[in-house]
């Protein structure tokens, strides 16, 4: 009996909490926007309290209808999507989804979308006054809309402007900016966000891709092109996260093809403060909970007291 109690006293669970712009996350595992709905869809399949945060589906002030189907197509170790921002609108989200989400002990981050700068500002001002939201994620990297969206991620000056303006509008909430990988040099965009006052950046959104039905000679997606996600993009995402982490001082959140604790660890070691899990939620609905548990297990087995010791700990060859 005595031995057992001594063990208990000396045993300390590894600390897995991280902080991003003053917000504490119980662990660095989040779910990526567009892959986890409004969170509640997964409530029966995993413990939503087990993860650091949920980034909900991109929201505009008023509902958006979205693109014509077919909208998705599976490719080798990944998938293409061209959903086109279909969402219920911020008002309905706050009225119908947010109250239920508040019952969970996790951070809610709202991804915001818009066709014009004013759209972003309007939804930002609205959400800024809503209790239960921990941060906003500015989506300027969606490849699946013809207007707005990716437009602001084509040159660093535009990225700077929209980030600076949205930051002014989001008085209370930290602002993250989700960046596109479809650029020549992600570092320029990361720097633009930092200079404009962004609190963090999410690196990356999907790669523009395409697939063709050779029998019909038709594109697999009605939109023609779509965003590629899933394990196929992980090495490229990791490289961009690494580049961004070496360039800016604000926290970088790693996104792209993460499907296991090992994948998540790669991003953390490369310097990401947290990670978002996307496409894997579709084929393993409780994957984020498993990853959170796996990170804890890694810390324990490697005798790491605090997960922050891992972040940015890559040992490069000199």
């Amino acid at each position: 009996m005595k031995e057992t109690s001594t063990e208990k006293e000396t045993y300390k669970a590894p600390r897995t909490a991280v902080e991003i712009a003053g917000v504490r996350f119980k662990n660095p595992v989040l779910t990526a926007s567009g892959t986890f709905g409004y969170g509640l869809e997964f409530a029966n399949l995993m413990d939503l309290n087990s993860i650091g945060g949920i980034v909900v589906k991109g929201l505009s002030m008023t509902p958006i209808k979205g693109n014509s189907p077919p909208r998705i197509y599976e490719t080798a170790s990944g998938m293409l999507n061209a959903i086109g921002w279909q969402n219920i609108g911020a008002t309905e989200f706050v009225a119908k989804k947010l109250p239920a989400l508040r019952n969970y002990n996790t951070n809610i981050i709202v991804n915001i979308v818009g066709f014009e700068l004013d759209d972003y500002l309007e939804v930002t001002r609205f959400l800024n006054d809503c209790p239960g939201i921990s941060a906003l994620e500015l989506n300027i990297s969606c490849p699946n809309v013809k207007k707005g969206g990716f437009h602001f991620n084509k040159n660093p000056k535009d990225t700077f402007t929209i980030t600076a303006e949205t930051k002014k509008a989001s008085r209370r909430l930290p602002l993250w900016v989700k960046l596109s990988p479809n650029v020549t040099d992600i570092r320029e965009f990361a720097t633009a966000c930092q200079d404009a006052g962004a609190d963090a950046i999410s690196v990356i959104n999907t790669f523009v891709g395409m697939a063709i039905d050779v029998e019909k000679r038709r594109p697999r997606l009605r939109f023609l092109t779509g965003g590629l996600s899933g394990p196929a993009i992980k090495p490229m995402a990791l490289r961009m996260v690494w580049e961004a982490c070496r360039t800016v001082k604000i926290p970088v959140i790693g996104v792209g093809g993460i499907a296991s604790a090992e994948d998540a660890l790669e991003f953390l070691i490369a310097g990401a403060r947290a990670v978002q899990i996307g496409t894997a939620n579709f084929y393993q609905p409780d994957v984020s909970q498993r990853v959170a548990l796996g990170l804890q297990e890694y810390c324990r087995s490697h005798k790491i007291d605090d997960i922050n010791e891992i972040i940015g700990s890559l040992r490069t060859y000199e």
């Binding site: 997964f42 209808k65 189907p69 909208r71 998705i72 579709f282 084929y283 393993q284």
Partner: protein
């Protein structure tokens, strides 16, 4: 809805790239309502391609031979692509991820026997899949039913024996005339709806888009209710990815994209905008 590892019990080749797959999963089998589906991983390992699961309508509840209790699910699988091809290569004893049962099924209720004199089931090829459980539950409600089952060739008319055992009236059609009436399945449906135009009929259809569109039009002309079971490529099946939508029109004429996975797969045919032809 449950997410389970289920064991393959049996896979039977029905010809013409059709298979009847039986998986053991008593807990999920107990929850099934007619018209619902499950998402099944086509390979054993979670990180193996294809990564996304595939949706399959539940054809039948497999029951324990002695106790008669639900023991598993019978699924009609047609090899139409990379995922389904791998699935048809599974062997008994293999374990697959299975999520469900889920989705909005057919509207069958106890009051139906008072309102519905006749149920008209229309299937095109593997569109037969959701109709067996439906037929069973209609019979339980004492609703008289007739099945119209069409295909290109006789080999497409799989699992006929299940329906024949129910002792219901069945009209078969094949486009090549190899079995039943020569032509498309909507021909005898027209005759049936015309001959019974004074009766209270409900139509249930599943098959290719063009067939369901035609059956919908006939139902509107005959002024009878029609439910269709839709098919779509799905990402998550949970209503999160919005990949499986179909264009609909509400009573105000406003267009919406509804999710086949959660707002369907069974929908009133009058909701659907049939002029949006999926590629």
């Amino acid at each position: 809805m449950l997410d389970k590892k289920v064991k393959v019990k049996d896979i039977r080749d029905l010809g013409e790239r059709n298979y009847l797959l039986t998986v053991n999963t008593p807990e999920q089998a107990r929850l099934v309502r007619p018209g619902q589906f499950i998402m099944l991983k086509c390979v054993e390992k979670v990180d193996e391609n294809p990564i996304l699961r595939r949706p399959f309508t539940i054809f039948n509840i497999h029951r324990n031979k002695r106790s008669g209790k639900p023991a598993g699910l019978e699924l009609l699988v047609k090899d139409v692509g990379v995922g389904t091809r791998k699935l048809t290569q599974v062997r008994p004893g293999q374990m697959l991820d299975c999520l469900g049962p889920q989705g909005r099924g057919f509207q069958v209720s106890a009051e139906m026997r008072n309102r519905t004199e006749l149920a008209c089931l229309v299937a095109g090829g593997v569109g037969i899949a959701p109709l067996y459980l439906l037929a069973q539950s209609l019979l339980v409600q004492n609703v008289k039913l007739i099945l119209f089952y069409g295909g290109a060739r006789v080999a497409d008319l799989v699992l006929r024996e299940y329906f024949e055992r129910l002792g219901i009236e069945i009209v078969y059609t094949t486009e090549d005339g190899s079995f039943g009436e020569r032509g498309v399945v909507t021909q005898p449906v027209v005759r049936f709806l015309t001959a019974n135009n004074r009766r209270n009929i409900r139509v249930y259809a599943c098959g290719p888009w063009g067939m369901m569109k035609a059956v919908h039009k006939l139902s509107v002309e005959a002024n009878v209710q029609c439910e269709v079971s839709l098919e779509a490529r799905m990402g998550c099946s949970l209503g999160a990815c919005l990949g499986c939508v179909v264009q609909t029109r509400d009573h105000l004429g406003e267009e919406h994209y509804l999710r086949v996975c959660q707002d369907g797969p069974v929908m009133s045919s009058r909701l659907i905008d049939w002029d949006t032809v999926p590629l």
